[in-house]
């Protein structure tokens, strides 16, 4: 009897021990989370393209961007994996995948170590992101340069009383993506995705370096950096390949100094960005500056209306026989941001950009709204006008289009 009781006790004890072990394991176990979005995009071009082979009016595509996230040690260690893939109806270049993020972060009290493929954004202005330099532009996603490719990096971030210092080692360079011949929103001559050349003998294996400082002082948020490595902007040179002319990509080495500041004073946001870039081919300064003013609760509603004005200048100017110049060299931008502050977070942005050296302008409307709990619908309109053959917009002057996006978040 006693023995049975003892056995029972032992069994109970063992069960209890196992139970608590499992419980503690579960408690210390990694937190895992799967989220992300899938989307459908429909473009409609009002006119036929300027070039043969270009799709005529309609372009459909779908994409998926899941995010897998693990965390342990109470969030001090995290791991994120965010792949992306888009399938386009016509353009094989636009049908593409990318690892947007595959990174490990260890966070301590006053420092962080981030390793892997990541995205880093710098800057304060809205119509052009001059100082944003770490990630390469994913040019097939959209023509506005807002989409970026993941960049492999080792980043040590130190939090000091006098600001945050970020040190970067950037091994491995990503070439810019360009749309294929069937796509609209491209120049007359196609960019060759082969025969890419580099100034550095290391090619796309060059180890780039950057150091960035940021600090908030009273109403001012300041950022400044120095970058040394492969220029993210390729030099495009026309060459004859077979019976076709194509643009070959060449990436030189650059040193770039960047500085940005935003002053937040009542309803005003004053924004300023500048860069100085030096390469073996040219040296230049460029600046983007302006303001944003917000009217709160207009017409006795809850809607806010923001007004934006920015000006872009580049010391390279508009270009001549010897140099290609800059795309934003004497350009002015006006915008209005309308936030309805409703349950569906309805928003609208209207923007107008005008090149003061050429007779060209671009106009855009971006509107979006949430439907239900998990859908987001966006409607974009882009109008492009140019009568000057030397202007970069001339190549896309017939590409006015409407774009409908439906995204489902999970």
């Amino acid at each position: 009897m006693n023995m049975v009781n003892n056995l029972k006790k032992t069994a109970l004890f063992a069960a209890f021990g196992l139970n608590s072990m499992l419980l503690s394991l579960a408690a210390s176990a990694d937190e895992f989370e799967l989220s992300g979005k899938v989307g459908f995009e429909q473009r409609y071009f009002a006119e036929k393209g300027q070039y043969e082979q270009q799709l005529e009016h309609s372009q459909t595509s779908i994409f998926i961007e899941p995010e897998l996230y693990w965390e342990w040690n109470n969030g001090s260690d995290t791991f994120t994996f965010k792949p992306f893939y888009r399938q386009d109806e016509y353009d094989n270049e636009r049908s593409h995948g990318d690892i947007r993020e595959l990174s490990y972060i260890h966070a301590s009290d006053d420092w962080e170590l981030r390793a892997g493929i990541r995205k880093e954004f710098w800057g304060v202005t809205e119509f052009q992101h001059l100082v944003d330099v770490i990630n390469q532009t994913d040019g097939v996603e959209d023509s506005d340069g807002e989409d970026k490719l993941g960049q492999l990096m080792l980043n040590l971030s130190l939090v000091k009383d006098w600001g945050i210092i970020d040190l970067y080692l950037l091994p491995g360079f990503r070439e810019r993506t360009f749309v294929g011949e069937k796509s609209r929103l491209r120049a007359s001559v196609l960019v060759n995705n082969n025969n890419i050349s580099y100034q550095s003998s290391a090619g796309d294996k060059h180890l780039d370096l950057a150091i960035h400082w940021s600090q908030s002082i009273d109403n001012f948020d300041i950022g400044s950096y120095w970058f040394h490595g492969t220029n993210r902007d390729p030099i495009l040179t026309p060459v004859t390949e077979g019976n076709k002319v194509v643009l070959n990509q060449y990436y030189n080495q650059m040193d770039q100094f960047g500085f940005d500041v935003q002053a937040t004073i009542d309803d005003w946001l004053w924004k300023f960005e500048t860069i100085y870039r030096t390469t073996d081919d040219d040296d230049f300064w460029a600046t983007q500056a302006g303001f944003e003013y917000t009217f709160i609760g207009v017409f006795e509603s809850f809607a806010d209306v923001g007004l934006l004005v920015e000006y872009g200048w580049d010391s390279r100017g508009e270009g001549d026989e010897n140099s290609s110049g800059a795309s934003v060299q004497n350009d002015i931008f006006f915008g209005s941001r309308l936030a309805f502050n409703d349950m569906q977070s309805s928003e609208m942005l209207i923007g107008l950009g005008a090149d003061l050296d050429h007779n060209s302008f671009s106009f855009l409307i971006e509107a979006n709204r949430r439907f239900g709990e998990s859908f987001k619908v966006s409607l974009d309109v882009r109008l492009l006008q140019s009568t000057d053959k030397k202007d970069l917009l001339y190549g896309v002057k017939d590409d006015d289009h409407l774009q409908l996006g439906i995204e489902y978040y999970f």
Partner: protein, 270 residues
């Protein structure tokens, strides 16, 4: 701002004077009403000092007149600072399209707060203007000022009398915002006499008509001192919409420090 140590030293005298005045049934002189209103509010604030830091999960249920619902899931971390306004980090989990968006705020009792917003899809930290106090928070019936911490300097006060509310004997205090950017001409606040917990608030719009009523329910005590409601309901009388708040996982003195509130933690917050 008023030093919280001074408030602490006021504590005993305040409690005594309130006890004697509330027994007084005759209408009060204007000066007396102001003094009492401030004393009651000071007492409420004084009882809620010293919690050091706090984390909680908040669920927001937005309902319109047709009964359609929308959910917001928010996590907050707050650090109490005795010589300045609190520092807080607000992390959005739902709706899904704003998941990972986070908001860093350094509040100040006087002047504008410092606020930054992190947009995960762009990996961008934006410093934003904090002047928009009257605008709706995430499309709800709460405005930004409704959700900011209570600081004595934000209002002038008037004691209006006593009333039973939620079955509790309560003080009725009128609070007139000092800030001209406030969306209200006044708030009328009911605080129960035993624990000085806010039971109900009536909000009056810029035209001085009743706009909203906020009622708190299911108060629980933490660390044997600090009272927090489990839920609250904001009803908008003018548009028929309502927003319900439900709090969960309240924790105090979790070991947060100033190093948990900067651009880096803002970008990392989940």
């Amino acid at each position: 701002m008023l030093n919280k140590q001074i408030i602490t030293s006021l504590f005993t005298t305040v409690a005594l004077s309130i006890a004697s005045y509330s027994a007084n049934a005759t209408p009060l002189e204007k000066q007396q009403a102001e003094k009492l209103g401030l004393e009651i509010s000071t007492q409420a604030k004084q009882r809620d000092i010293g919690w050091v830091d706090n984390t909680s999960d908040m669920l927001m249920l937005l309902r319109n007149k047709q009964g359609q619902e929308s959910t917001r899931e928010i996590k907050t971390k707050t650090l109490e600072l005795l010589d300045d306004g609190d520092k807080s980090l607000t992390i959005f989990n739902k709706p899904r399209d704003v998941k990972g968006t986070s908001f860093l705020s350094f509040s100040h009792a006087v002047g504008n707060d410092d606020q930054w917003l992190y947009l995960p899809s762009l990996k961008r930290v934006k410093r934003i203007s904090s002047r928009n106090k009257s605008g709706p928070f995430m499309g709800s019936e709460f405005s930004f000022e409704d959700l900011s911490s209570f600081e004595l300097e934000k209002y002038s006060y008037n004691y209006l009398g006593d009333e039973q509310i939620n079955g509790l004997d309560s003080f009725m205090v009128e609070q007139v915002p000092v800030d001209e950017n406030s969306g209200y001409t006044k708030r009328i606040v009911w605080l129960d006499k035993v624990e000085y917990r806010v039971q109900k608030i009536d909000f009056y719009d810029r035209k001085n008509s009743l706009l909203k009523t906020l009622t708190y329910s299911d108060y629980k005590q933490y660390l044997s001192k600090y009272w927090r409601a489990d839920s609250a309901l904001m009803l908008n009388h003018q548009n028929g919409k309502s927003t319900e708040l439900k709090w969960d996982n309240y924790a105090f003195k979790t070991g947060l420090s100033e190093s948990d509130f900067n651009r880096n933690t803002l970008k990392r917050a989940r």
